[in-house]
């Protein structure tokens, strides 16, 4: 009985908001709560509410971290650091922006810190997994089998690898901020205004970053066209 279990889990939590109390009292389980109510509940110290928030957004957070850091270890560090920061500072969140924006602001700041640290001390970093030669990077057996299916065209596979390798090298040319803007715009699908909110800057600045990133990629990937 999920509802009964939630009710028991929350029975000894004090200081929750009245609206959440009402929602819980009416039988609404945590997964069904809206973002605001869930955040409010988590702010009272409800661990289950916080974990529900994590489950809602952590897939996107990890994806962003993986795309930016390109190393599972670094992405895992970013994930941990970002969500622990959220947990420690959740009581400071005043609903002046969406929780999603606030969360991404934290995640991108952590990513930027890691990327800058990596640029400052490249000798301390493990080599990035080459997306152009990802066979070595993939540890999952079934993933490797998919790439070696006999029905797949070997020539097409080879070309695909070449393109990925070029893209990876081109992305390396971007600054950390440009990479984040490009990633959030094209792969996360955020609007420039939202990206500006996340990064704590103006939309114009974000536009400039995206323009510079696109120009660099156009130059680097000119041969692919």
């Amino acid at each position: 009985m999920p509802l009964a279990r939630w009710a028991l889990a929350l029975a000894d939590n004090n200081g929750r908001s009245g609206s959440t109390d009402a929602a819980l009292a009416s039988g609404t389980s945590l997964p069904n709560l809206d973002e605001r109510a869930l955040v409010a509940e988590a702010q009272t110290g409800n661990r289950a509410a916080f974990e529900e928030l994590v489950r809602r957004y952590d897939r996107d957070v990890l994806r962003l971290a993986l795309n930016l850091m390109k190393r599972p270890e670094d992405a895992r560090d970013v994930y941990q650091e970002a969500f622990l920061k959220v947990y420690r500072n959740l009581h400071r969140f005043r609903f002046e922006c969406s929780f999603y924006t606030w969360l991404y602001r934290i995640v991108t700041n952590v990513c930027l810190d890691h990327l800058r640290r990596r640029q400052a001390r490249p000798e301390d970093q493990a080599p990035e997994l080459s997306t152009g030669h990802h066979e070595e990077g993939i540890t999952d057996f079934f993933e490797r089998q998919r790439e070696h299916r006999p029905t797949q065209d070997p020539e097409r596979t080879l070309i695909g690898k070449e393109i990925k390798s070029h893209i990876a090298r081109a992305m390396e040319r971007l600054s950390p901020r440009e990479r984040i803007v490009f990633e959030m715009k094209h792969y996360q699908g955020l609007k420039l205004r939202a990206i500006g909110d996340v990064l704590g800057t103006t939309e114009e600045t974000v536009k400039n970053s995206l323009f510079r990133a696109t120009r660099k990629l156009r130059i680097e990937l000119g041969g692919l066209r």
Partner: protein
């Protein structure tokens, strides 16, 4: 007023094509761009290139697609985060009430002072508190266990040297008090009466192991043991010294010390052996004297008795067959000495002794 409203050219349009492609221009800008593209082949080609590039980029597999396609990494991250949250949520360890916690903190920060303090504490407890506690126990009349003094063993004697021995008369006792100064690992002074078995054993050890000690020390010990010659162990040591000691003076002293037990058969045998085999005339004379004294039965006055005075020879009827055989043997030995001893004084002393014993038919 937007720049697109008039004098729109390729230089103005080109930078906006990127945002036009990703739908980040407002309606007015979009109209102007589309109007320009309709009449400008170069910008249209540029837009096509950008579109193709964007398509290529979006079509390529992202690192996230490849690095965590199976979702294992996400599961790991969630698990690690849950553990971290558990650590953060765990209530802080309660500080138990710890008596003298301030003292422990103080000692931890000042190790040298702490060491000195502990040494001082141990010293005070050992020297002041424990004796006080023992006294308190005694006044309560409770049973007190006292460790017996460990007797000195021959093994310990082997590692000791004797640096001095002094005698003092013991009031109310015939035996003197002895004070022995020992040089061992730790110098010590042993004080006690000769009657004390430990003290007696120590003096006996000196006599028996004469080669390890100087002659003066051996003489002192013999002097002390003279009063306890009735002890079998002491008597054995004296006999050994009388026969085997390298120093004639010691052998003489040993014979003299045996005077109190001269009636003992073993002692008499020793006297006879000394009489016949000792190389020193003085020792042989001493043996004669002791033998005569033993035969006279008045050991204490034998020396003072004039040799020429008539003596009462022990009557054969007063002793048993063993006694008679013993006396005959003594007489026989004395007669041989009287004739053959290389020392004139020994010969004279033997003749005097024979006279003291009286005429006998030696069997």
């Amino acid at each position: 007023m937007s720049v697109f409203e008039k004098n729109v050219n390729c230089k103005d349009i080109a930078p906006l094509l990127v945002f036009y492609l990703c739908d980040e221009v407002n309606d007015g800008e979009r109209e102007q761009i589309e109007a320009h593209l309709a009449s400008c082949a170069a910008c249209s080609a540029l837009l096509a290139e950008d579109e193709q590039l964007q398509t290529t980029l979006l079509a390529s597999r992202q690192p996230a697609d490849e690095l965590d396609a199976s979702g294992i990494l996400l599961a790991q991250c969630r698990s690690e985060l849950a553990e971290s949250l558990d650590d953060l949520s765990a209530p802080p360890l309660q500080e138990h009430w710890r008596p003298f916690g301030w003292l422990r903190r103080w000692m931890a920060l000042r190790p040298v002072w702490s060491g000195a303090l502990l040494v001082l504490f141990g010293t005070v407890v050992g020297t002041q508190v424990l004796p006080l506690m023992q006294n308190a126990n005694n006044t309560n009349g409770q049973t007190m266990n006292v460790m017996a003094k460990q007797p000195l063993t021959p093994k310990q004697f082997e590692n000791m040297t004797f640096s001095g021995i002094t005698f003092s008369p013991s009031p109310g006792s015939d035996t003197p008090n002895v004070e022995v100064h020992l040089n061992a690992e730790q110098p010590m002074v042993l004080t006690g009466n000769v009657e004390d078995s430990d003290m007696r054993g120590m003096l006996t050890y000196v006599v028996q192991n004469g080669e390890r000690f100087d002659a003066g020390m051996r003489l002192d010990c013999l002097d002390a043991l003279k009063t306890v010659v009735r002890d079998q162990q002491v008597r054995g040591a004296l006999i050994t010294a009388a026969l085997k000691d390298q120093n004639p003076a010691v052998r003489m002293k040993a014979l003299e010390s045996l005077r109190g037990a001269s009636s003992d058969d073993a002692v008499r045998q020793t006297l006879l052996q000394a009489l016949q085999h000792d190389s020193n005339p003085g020792v042989r004379v001493e043996a004669v004297n002791v033998l005569v004294a033993s035969l006279q039965g008045d050991q204490s006055d034998s020396q003072e008795t004039a040799p020429e005075e008539p003596v009462v020879a022990p009557s054969p009827k007063s002793g048993g067959p063993d006694e008679i055989a013993s006396i005959d043997r003594v007489v026989s030995v004395l007669q041989r000495l009287q004739r053959q001893d290389p020392s004139r004084y020994v010969r004279l002393r033997s003749a005097a002794a024979l006279r003291q014993i009286g005429p006998r038919e030696v069997q």
